[in-house]
Symmetry: C2
Subunit: 475 residues, 2 copies
Amino acid sequence: MDIKKALIGIFGKENVRDEPAELYVYSADASVHQSLPNIIVRPETVEQIQKVMEYANNELIPVVARGAGSGMSGHVVPIDGGIVLDMKGMNHILEIRCEDMYCRVESGVVDDDLNRALKPYGMVYPPSPASSRIATIGGEIGNNASGIRSVKYGATRDYVLGMKAVLANGDVVNLGAKTRVEAAGYQIHRLIVGSEGTLAIIVEATMKFIPLPKFRCLGMAIFEKLEDAGDTIADIIGSGSEPSMLELMDDIAIKAVNTASKLGLPEVEAILLFEADGKVKEAVDYEMQGMKAIFEKHNGKVTDMSYDAKERTKIYAGRKKLFPSLSRYKEGFACTSLADDMAVPYSKMAECARKIHEIAKKNGVIMTAYGHCGSGVMHTKILMDPTRKEQWEAAKRAVEEVYDYVDSVGGITSGEHGIALSKAPSWKKARKDLLPVMSKIKRALDPNNILNPHKLMDAPDDWLTATPLRYKVKV
Amino acid sequence: MDIKKALIGIFGKENVRDEPAELYVYSADASVHQSLPNIIVRPETVEQIQKVMEYANNELIPVVARGAGSGMSGHVVPIDGGIVLDMKGMNHILEIRCEDMYCRVESGVVDDDLNRALKPYGMVYPPSPASSRIATIGGEIGNNASGIRSVKYGATRDYVLGMKAVLANGDVVNLGAKTRVEAAGYQIHRLIVGSEGTLAIIVEATMKFIPLPKFRCLGMAIFEKLEDAGDTIADIIGSGSEPSMLELMDDIAIKAVNTASKLGLPEVEAILLFEADGKVKEAVDYEMQGMKAIFEKHNGKVTDMSYDAKERTKIYAGRKKLFPSLSRYKEGFACTSLADDMAVPYSKMAECARKIHEIAKKNGVIMTAYGHCGSGVMHTKILMDPTRKEQWEAAKRAVEEVYDYVDSVGGITSGEHGIALSKAPSWKKARKDLLPVMSKIKRALDPNNILNPHKLMDAPDDWLTATPLRYKVKV
């Protein structure tokens, strides 16, 4: 049977799209990759998803579930074409139960919408990534997303109590529990967190939330030497301080912000932003003063510190403007999501930043080192001329060298953004023993390999040629 | 080849035992079940475990890994005989890295030993169960153990960053990471947490720890009516209070303690113990006063509250003596671990306790309702004359009825103690859709079904006849 006809039978005409302009939109995410799907459907019910999976499983058609498409590694780029499930229509918050401290949401609910709904109860769902304005809970689960406060509040995986999922064969399964603790069978929902759409379609999630802190204090400290900032990070963590945020910006990040936004940040080797939060001011003070003392011990200078919301916005402005500023750092250079979120042990943050600078210089690209150093995440981006083929070759060498270093110090390829396509080659090299175990589980749950195929362990061995690039490259 | 000879080849003569007295010791845990293994080995290295798994996988011999044997559901009772791996010899703490906030331990390390090692650094590994004096980290991971402070600090699953495991075929695999966040492939270590020894042999774990709180305040509140205590629990949780402990004792629990230990606890319908902890006294005060106000709103009377360690030991004495006291509640009655740790939504705690009392009365057994109500866990025990066959039949009916109720209110069969054998029948009834998915994963990782076979989804349908009982029953 004709795919389109079959899908219209399931979803209705208005929810099945295959116009070229629409397919183009669904061909990319925030990564460097691009590949066209054959058709888009917009599910509204679990039953529709069961039916489409039954159909696709019988007909051996790839299915890619997509939330906001804000992923940075190519998760939802349909490398084999097939059907894209646009989950954004399944955006109902089904239940918020404060007395039981959980909510149930459809997987297309946008992160910020959930937090807007929780706020009147004095509650918050904390592991929001920077893209929370558009990112869906389903996408965040698929990617095990986390954000600036993961140092204190952890990642998505720490909040998923259970889920309803549709398997490759169309079976619907309820996983996990609604209770705080659970010792009742394999915790398959915890396996699905971070599985990048390759094991099941998440249709509903039961999520934990926590009380919104009443006080929040944000500070900025500057360091003449990057190494001092690095020692500070390890000392803060090792001393038992509990920041709710600890962010690093290196000299390139600082310069990018100053160039693009004229904020006049001090042009030092490193800035650390540090925050504490809590219900009781004395406890927040205690954390802030404790961290301040550690900064000073390591030659850091605390330039700002405030509880006031407006002041905090000002202090955070540079960090907030960083990502958009990177695209304007150098005329004609694009900011590409490559080698963009490795995690290393805290004690290696400064060394890792230096290494990134060295590798970038050697290969003729620009790389910045910033990010959630409180949770070990180093965010980098490769700034490069995307029209020049040799710049892509240089980026490829730089990516390889960075990840070889990360692996050598016990770090991991991705702390936040997932593996998908861009990071698969280096990750596969580093995790050889994990791959066959993943493949066994994948085959057990998706024997026909229709759920987001050719990602992770099954991704191509060269990210540069895995798909066409989202950039026009002159040959 | 003769099993014993083969195993001596791997482990050396002194680490292979098959004397009847020794087999008898390894035939039971803290559950009602009993079944003899064929032989015991005491591994000291990962390589030995790889070799024994290769051997057992080829010869199709069941392998059960065992820590302290303190499990309450029959996890390590070798229902098909075979080889028991006594993991207690692999008890080395390999690394404690405060600056990176993780430690690496062999799986036979005893929980209290780990905490003794962390204390000089001002750190603590918090999800310790009541059996932490003997329980091993490997056993706790296998069971996803948690304890009295899970309301604030969560369960074992929240602390396992990674692990080294040996698969059924002898392959060794490194899972997870050493960093706080991770988005780098299937998080199979999180699947193995709570898999009760059926998916892999855990040989090493990378665990997170946290700073030890400086202040701890414990209080006791009494309630004339159980329902008021129940409303208090839901109100405390829903109001955003953050107790580090919230424990319920019902009238039977109180009476048991007073009978056995002459502590003179007030003989009311319910006692709640409540605790807060933290680095800053003002923050602990805030939580304690907030909870006190909620107790009073619901007709509770706060009788004690103290920061002093000695005073806290006194306040906690009744709860501490509860488990041993239950065995002495009624002459000739044993305290059996049956229907002993269901979890229900907080708002259902009081109703659940009443229901347990009703069901016990109806079936002619005694059941108490107590436990970590702050994390939704209701601990019960069935007190019964274990020599009378009809008491076991009554217990079986009571267990069924309790779990039918728990399932009807969105609770789960086990919050802490696992499924294994005792809880498998009711759990299987409640989780029909989960079982085939678990079986697929089990077959993928252990195709010959040699790792702790016939537990969980593969357990017998009647716990009462699944194995001989650990009690002499007159016919």
